[in-house]
């Protein structure tokens, strides 16, 4: 089916759950008013990014009042939003929710927690252990969080499960200034989103945040990318923004007929080769 997706490019406050929840709520109301079927927020939209030792203090469980509130807000609009999830055994995950019809449809726990350069996620958070696509009224969806998308296997696994839309929540720091028109991180992400969409004949809904934390900027530039890799709608760089795109079933159909890459993908061969690699590892 055709659907309308909004990307809410917000500026979360670091460690301020109530304020961020209020901002998220305002954007949900706006998306609903504008007739959107789905609104996507950035990674860790509820908490801010460079949390460090704040992680245990701002982590919430799936039955927390904040999540209950978000569930209520999803009665007539689907919502995808990032937060820190705490479990009963005191692990903390960089998680994203997909909510619809007042219920949690899916939870994704970020698998690839970057701990290099300016990143230090795995010091503070536990690692997710699966990529699972899920059914929604917009077709099959796969959710990823930021760094996950930089691992080819992640969107591939989701596509093999039949996902036709990849929702990617992000908190990407802006860096790599040269004489190019955009920052290095902007150029890399735009290439990644377009390539992922093209390789997998799938749409990519990428929502990044803006604002500064301890001098580090988040560059925004959220975008909806069609299954042929072209950007359907792109948010401003380095500014709060709210963009909406109409995601058309006909475009997906056309692309999948034109270049049936997913139909032709040889999963058993890939599996066989990967198993061979795994079995040969450690022999040398």
């Amino acid at each position: 089916m055709d659907f309308t997706a909004s990307l809410a490019q917000i500026k979360p406050k670091l460690g301020c759950l109530p304020e961020n929840l209020a901002t998220i709520e305002e954007n949900i109301v706006r998306a609903r008013k504008e007739g959107s079927d789905l609104v996507v927020f950035p990674e860790l939209a509820l908490t801010g990014y460079f949390l460090k030792d704040l992680v245990p203090d701002i982590a919430i469980s799936l039955d927390s009042p904040e999540i209950s509130r978000l569930k209520k807000l999803s009665k007539d609009i689907a919502i995808s939003v990032g937060f820190v999830e705490s479990t009963s055994d005191y692990r903390f995950f960089n998680s994203s929710l997909f909510l619809d019809k007042g219920e949690i449809v899916h939870v994704h726990r970020k698998v690839y927690l970057p701990t290099y350069g300016l990143f230090d996620e795995q010091r503070y958070m536990a690692r997710g252990d699966r990529f699972r696509a899920f059914d929604s009224r917009f077709g099959r969806i796969g959710m990823l969080i930021c760094e996950d998308l930089w691992h080819l296997s992640a969107p591939y696994i989701l596509a093999m499960q039949g996902a036709t839309t990849i929702v990617c929540l992000s908190s990407s720091p802006g860096r790599g200034l040269t004489d190019d028109e955009w920052l290095g991180s902007t150029i890399a992400w735009q290439r990644l989103n377009a390539t992922t969409a093209t390789f997998l004949n799938a749409r990519v809904l990428y929502c990044n945040r803006v604002g500064y934390e301890d001098g580090i900027n988040f560059w925004g530039g959220s975008e909806a990318v069609g299954p042929c890799g072209t950007s359907l709608s792109r948010a401003k760089l380095l500014e709060e923004d709210f963009v909406t795109a109409v995601i058309k079933e006909s475009e997906l159909r056309r692309e999948r007929i034109l270049a049936p890459l997913m139909r032709d993908e040889n999963l058993p061969l890939t599996l066989r080769e990967l198993q061979l690699i795994e079995s040969e590892r450690g022999r040398t």
Binding site: G15, D53, T178, D179, Y212, G215, L238
Partner: protein, 273 residues
């Protein structure tokens, strides 16, 4: 070919937004900075004026009796050009009163004392105006340790600390910093005729090209030789960066508890903002 060319329009936006957001999220709307008459502080004045509005920026020129009079004249030209508040607080009485007690001091001690005297004035003006102190140290001098710890290196936030001097020149062109300030030879202005490049023994452009490859691109010594940098120069700069590293860190703390500040008690400064 320089690898240091940057998109100055994009850089301007990032730094202006940085000042506005990082100042205002503390609940303050104003900035204060020392204006030396040189290009670094001139650039910060222009950036701050754009970010906070010139009426919310206080520039203080703090000359010593041996400072080149041209410096103060240039500071005034900069303040007029970007429209910020401007005042002059000479440091001669305080610095001379101190050195009357220690007459036999060398240039380094005198220079450091002056830099720290200026720092105390800026932080006092921070309280006076309810304004945050904006840093004016660039990446070149921070890496080389060419600055005074708790002196000119002290600030609440620094918009230009990730820019090499070569990039300071580029952005100053974009911001239309007065021509005479862009064109003059960089100087710490501690004594008459002093220039940075003479004192350092190499030019900023040379060392910036080297440090960009060494620090940002993490090139090995072999690669740097292939890029045309003499081995002795590379070794000298590596040593300078290493030996001045203490200036870029907070004081180290003897650990006895389970949670020591900055070691295993880690929070962003923007905690709750």
């Amino acid at each position: 070919m320089s690898r240091l060319l940057v998109n100055t329009k994009l850089l301007r936006k990032i730094l202006v937004d940085f000042i506005r957001e990082e100042v205002c999220k503390t609940g303050v709307t104003k900035g204060v900075l020392g204006l030396s008459g040189g290009i670094d502080s001139a650039l910060v004045a222009f950036l701050a004026a754009e970010a906070l509005g010139p009426e919310n920026v206080h520039a203080v020129c703090m000359p010593y009796r041996t400072s080149n009079p041209e410096s103060e004249a240039h500071a005034r030209i900069v303040a007029d050009a970007c429209g910020v508040h401007y005042s002059v607080v000479p440091i001669t009485p305080m610095v001379d009163a101190y050195f009357e007690m220690f007459p036999d001091t060398d240039n380094m001690r005198r220079g450091n004392k002056m830099a720290r005297e200026r720092m105390t004035i800026l932080f006092d003006h921070s309280a006076l105006h309810g304004a945050l102190v904006l840093g004016t140290s660039n990446k070149t001098e921070l890496l080389l340790g060419y600055g005074t710890l708790y002196g000119d290196m002290a600030s609440a936030l620094n918009p230009i600390g990730d820019l090499y001097k070569t990039q300071i020149w580029q952005l100053s062109e974009e911001m239309e910093v007065p021509r005479e300030v862009i064109d003059k030879k960089p100087s710490a202005d501690l004594w008459a005729g002093q220039t940075d490049e003479q004192e350092l023994g190499f030019t900023y452009r040379e060392v910036d090209e080297l440090m960009y490859r060494m620090v940002d691109l993490r090139m090995t010594d072999e690669e740097l030789v292939r890029e045309g940098f003499p081995t002795e120069f590379t070794a000298k700069i590596r040593e300078r960066i290493k030996n001045s590293h203490f200036k870029r860190r907070l004081p180290i703390i003897a650990k006895v508890s389970n949670r020591t500040i900055d070691r295993d008690f880690r929070y962003s400064r923007d905690w709750g903002k």
